[in-house]
């Protein structure tokens, strides 16, 4: 981890001149201030840190942080971040985005990022809805299927006017199944706790996923800050995150959600170690001329 060597950075030092473009009351403000605080806690050198994102309300975040930033295309934050980290292991790499970006369009990258386990920290701002496109179901929208519960009024989102037709996915359980080497849940209305979790994720050597409830007051009137205040609890201190079975048990609690570090695998190999090993072993062993010579089919007899 590239930490600043001289000055300690206050949270406000990570704040850029750009003003966030989010709606009043958006959970992402809380996540942003937690991120500033976590970076300060880890004393990250702003000039050796890159914040990467995809597309969505939350993906505008890199511009609001006074570090290098990369705001790319929808769902592709993880591949871009992997490229950055592999090319430059000396940089601190943080990825941010929303639930649609990370679990829908970009969901296919998650298991492979878990397999590679690069030392990057991924904060998903999960508002259970698509906000930038103004209120459609997301993969984590929490609404019973119309056909499954006839008594309940099916929740009618804009693209599902007769009710949502798919079940929501459980990103924490998925991440544990994929053996993401650090899996945690945060809540934007507890920014101090969230800052601690993000800092722990940054300090974790490997791929860290922090799914963070970050309510959308504009389009989601169900999963609000009050809803999450009533439906979350802190993970007890005696929870052992290296116990995968217990971690699964926590992940499967979907009426009252546990918040904190749920799962950790400190023994997982990283693509970065493997690449460094290959370079150490082979670097400088051949040059272009020797590579050409391997393909010689005709040699002029030397005098």
């Amino acid at each position: 981890m590239a930490v600043a060597t001289e000055t300690l950075h206050a949270p406000k030092d990570y704040k850029s001149d750009l003003k966030p473009v989010w709606c009043p009351g958006c959970g992402d403000y809380g996540v942003l201030s937690a991120l500033y605080k976590a970076m300060s806690m880890c004393n990250l050198d702003p000039e050796k840190t890159v914040v990467v994102s995809g597309i969505g309300c939350s993906s505008r975040l890199p511009g609001f942080v006074q570090t290098y930033g990369f705001h790319g295309v929808h769902g592709r934050g993880l591949p871009v971040a992997t490229g950055i980290k592999m090319a430059r292991p000396d940089l601190n790499v943080v990825v941010v985005g929303g639930d649609g970006d990370g679990y829908s369009i970009g969901g296919g990258h998650l298991p492979h990022c878990a397999r590679r386990n690069p030392d990057i920290t991924y904060v998903v701002m999960n508002n259970n809805i698509y906000g930038l496109t103004k209120g459609q179901v997301s993969p984590t929208s929490m609404v019973p299927l119309a056909s499954m519960n006839a008594k309940m009024d099916p929740k009618r989102w804009k693209t599902t006017p007769y009710g949502m037709t798919e079940e929501s996915l459980n990103p924490i359980a998925l991440a544990i199944a994929m053996d993401v080497s650090f899996v945690a849940r945060g809540f934007s209305y507890r920014p101090n706790q969230l800052a601690d979790i993000i800092a722990e994720g940054i300090n974790h050597k490997g791929f860290a996923l922090i799914d963070t409830f970050s309510p959308c007051p504009t389009f989601n009137q169900d999963q609000t800050d009050d809803f999450y205040k009533d439906h979350t609890y802190d993970i007890p201190e005696d929870h052992d995150p290296t116990d995968r079975i217990k971690a699964f048990a926590l992940a499967l609690e979907t009426t009252n959600f546990p918040v904190g570090v749920i799962y950790r695998n400190d023994n997982k190999h990283s693509v970065l170690e493997e690449q460094a090993y290959l370079r150490d072993k082979y670097q400088g062993k051949v040059d272009m001329e020797q590579i050409f010579a391997r393909n010689l089919s005709y040699t002029v007899a030397k005098e």
Binding site: Q66, G69, L78, K285, F292
Partner: protein, 596 residues
């Protein structure tokens, strides 16, 4: 390439056909190796079925004293290892050609004028294995394949009166580590094949192959291989890719040698991830590339556009294959020119290049990296299946002639006091900061942005920044586009001019030479740079041509259309889209047909 001297003129076309996965390709590779060691100039063409095993593979080898520009028109020697191959590819054999067939498998109906050699390859190979049965045991014996290819090699070398010693040396190289018995079995097989043909020859006709003296070393390599080596020589440090026919070998060759050169390779989960990683690595300061084929390039289009908008240098190789959708993955085509030039939503600047020969794969790749770095934008390089798998004999590239450019980096002064990553400049190129640089902090973004990189949507900003990005291409076009092409054939006024791109360079040169021998004046411009087009050079060339032909391997005439958009010149399109390359006669006929 200098031709060297031959003791007698050699120009022979040998076509091998057989069941895929049963050694036809290995036999072809052995033959190429032997002819290469004789100093001959080689040009091959391979066409495969899409299946791993089964279906008919065709491997054509032309060996020549002097420069070989194509795989030839008619086949002099057909080696048919099964009847299906003979039925499918037999008609390429000239009427007075030589047929060598596996008589254990089939007997072809006789044809007047053709000279036939029946070779019981399977029987001879089994006998060789039988002869060492008492020397090896159990599993090893079971797993030992009868030396079918070596029987074939011995027979063919004898048929063309080539010496067996180089093959013996090669057998030692291949099999010494497997033990004496195996070496002896293969050397015996080589002589057994040779001896069988020797007895068959009698008064029959044989093709002639003589060694050629060269004054420099020669390597035998494929197009995909030289794409990889060109990238490595250009300083490639990061490659991400996803397997796809016929581009996969680019990744395989790079993966083998890049750790030694201080770089790394990732096999991504899909092409979208691959191009994302490439963009990330280049943003972080490393030269980065990927290679794919049409379907994969289609998936990369969105992120290529991001690289253009965020001004990140990347190189993307498209080894074109035939057909839309899955099409014909193992066949060749030049139908992705439109995709390379226009494959983008909205508009964004990108450079498009095309490799022209196995040797040119190396040099154009070094130029592609230079242009990507210099203009901070994507460079798409077009190759195709026929060139990707083509084996050529070329001199090892002279590394002292490799010239490398690196991106313009912002100086400390330029970074101090509000760094403008996207500064509007005369050339359109803005000094870049790399993460880790002091005072260089900015957010790279695909969203429209001002000179600092901050998002903005005003009409003034939109037109100013788009103009800045496109100015890079205009500057390239004005200052150096004319360097990336070659002109062959006659100087001054000509009857026929040909403008083309990609793998067709050699075959057009050969047809041009044939037409010139007939007294027709012909010139040929072969483009390496397709976007932006070198319009000055094209107009100058067109002014001295009475008629202009544009031959290309696609259905709609994509280069002809692109020339129409960019210039006033009148062209005669000539397209073929059958999954196989042009032969010299196709082009020659076209030249003579416009002369009447």
């Amino acid at each position: 390439m200098s031709a060297g001297t031959a003791t007698a003129t050699t120009d022979v076309v040998i076509r091998l056909v057989g069941e895929s996965g049963e050694g036809t390709v290995s036999l072809g590779d052995l033959l190429v190796k032997m002819f290469g060691s004789m100093g001959l100039d080689i040009y091959t063409f391979q066409t495969f079925p899409a299946e791993i095993k089964g279906g008919t593979v065709m491997y054509q080898i032309r060996a020549k004293s002097g420069t070989t520009l194509s795989f030839g028109d008619a086949v002099d020697v057909l080696v048919a290892l099964n009847d299906e191959g003979f039925d499918l590819f037999g008609k390429g054999l000239r009427e007075d050609g030589i047929l060598l067939y596996n008589s254990d498998v089939f007997t072809p109906s006789p044809s007047p004028g053709r000279t036939d050699y029946a070779l019981p390859i399977t029987t001879l190979a089994k006998a060789e294995k039988e002869a060492i049965r008492h020397l090896i045991t159990g599993e090893a014996l079971k797993r030992l394949p009868p030396p079918v290819n070596i029987i074939g090699l011995g027979a063919l070398l004898r048929l063309v009166s080539a010496p067996l010693e180089p093959a013996e040396r090669y057998i030692h190289d291949l099999f010494d580590r497997k033990g004496d018995e195996i070496v002896r079995m293969n050397i015996s097989a080589l002589h057994s094949g040779a001896k069988f043909i020797e007895e068959e020859i009698g008064n029959k006709r044989t093709p002639h192959v003589s060694p050629m003296e060269r004054d420099h070393d020669i390597i035998t390599v494929t197009g995909n291989q030289m794409i990889a080596y060109g990238a490595l020589a250009a300083g490639l440090k990061f490659y991400a890719g996803y397997p796809i026919t016929p581009a996969t070998e680019v990744m395989e060759f790079i993966a083998k040698d890049i750790p030694a050169l201080g770089g790394e390779v990732v096999q991504a989960e899909d092409e979208i991830a691959a191009i994302g990683m490439v963009v990330g690595a280049s943003y972080a300061g490393k030269k980065a590339m990927t290679a794919s084929s049409g379907p994969g390039i289609s998936l990369m289009v969105e992120t290529i556009n991001l690289a253009a908008q965020a001004e990140i240098p990347i190189v993307v190789v498209d080894v074109q294959r035939a057909g839309a959708s899955t099409g014909m993955p193992t066949k060749t085509s030049q139908a992705d020119l439109n995709l390379a030039i226009f494959g983008v939503h909205n508009e964004s600047p990108r450079i498009v290049m095309a490799v022209a020969s196995v040797e040119d794969c190396f040099w154009t790749m070094t130029h592609a990296f230079n242009l990507a770095e210099k203009y901070q934008c994507p460079v798409i390089v077009l190759s195709d299946q026929s060139l990707a798998t083509r084996k050529s004999t070329i001199p090892p590239p002279d590394m002292s002639k490799v010239h490398l450019e690196t991106r313009l980096l912002a100086s400390p002064d330029e970074r101090a006091g509000g760094f403008q990553r996207y500064k509007d400049t005369e050339t359109g190129v803005s000094p870049m900061a790399i993460p880790g640089m002091a005072m260089g902090i900015y957010t790279s973004t695909g969203i429209e942005h001002d000179e600092h990189g901050d998002p903005g949507y005003t009409p003034e900003l939109a037109s100013k920044m788009k103009d800045k990005r496109f100015r890079k291409l205009a500057y390239l076009q004005k200052t150096e586009a004319d360097h990336y092409l070659k002109i062959w054939g006659d100087e001054g006024k000509v009857d026929v001019g040909i403008i083309a791109f990609g793998s067709t360079e050699g075959v057009i040169r050969e047809a041009t030479q044939r037409a010139q021998a007939d007294g027709i004046k012909v010139a040929h411009m072969h483009l390496r740079l397709l976007n932006p087009l070198p319009v000055n050079a094209i107009n100058k060339f067109a002014a001295r041509c009475d008629k202009i032909l544009v031959p290309e391997l696609n259905y709609t005439g994509q280069l002809a259309n692109w020339l129409k958009i960019n210039t006033e010149i009148k062209v005669i399109p000539f397209h073929k889209d059958e999954g196989i390359p042009f032969i010299p006669n196709d082009i020659y006929q076209m030249i003579t047909s416009v002369m009447v």
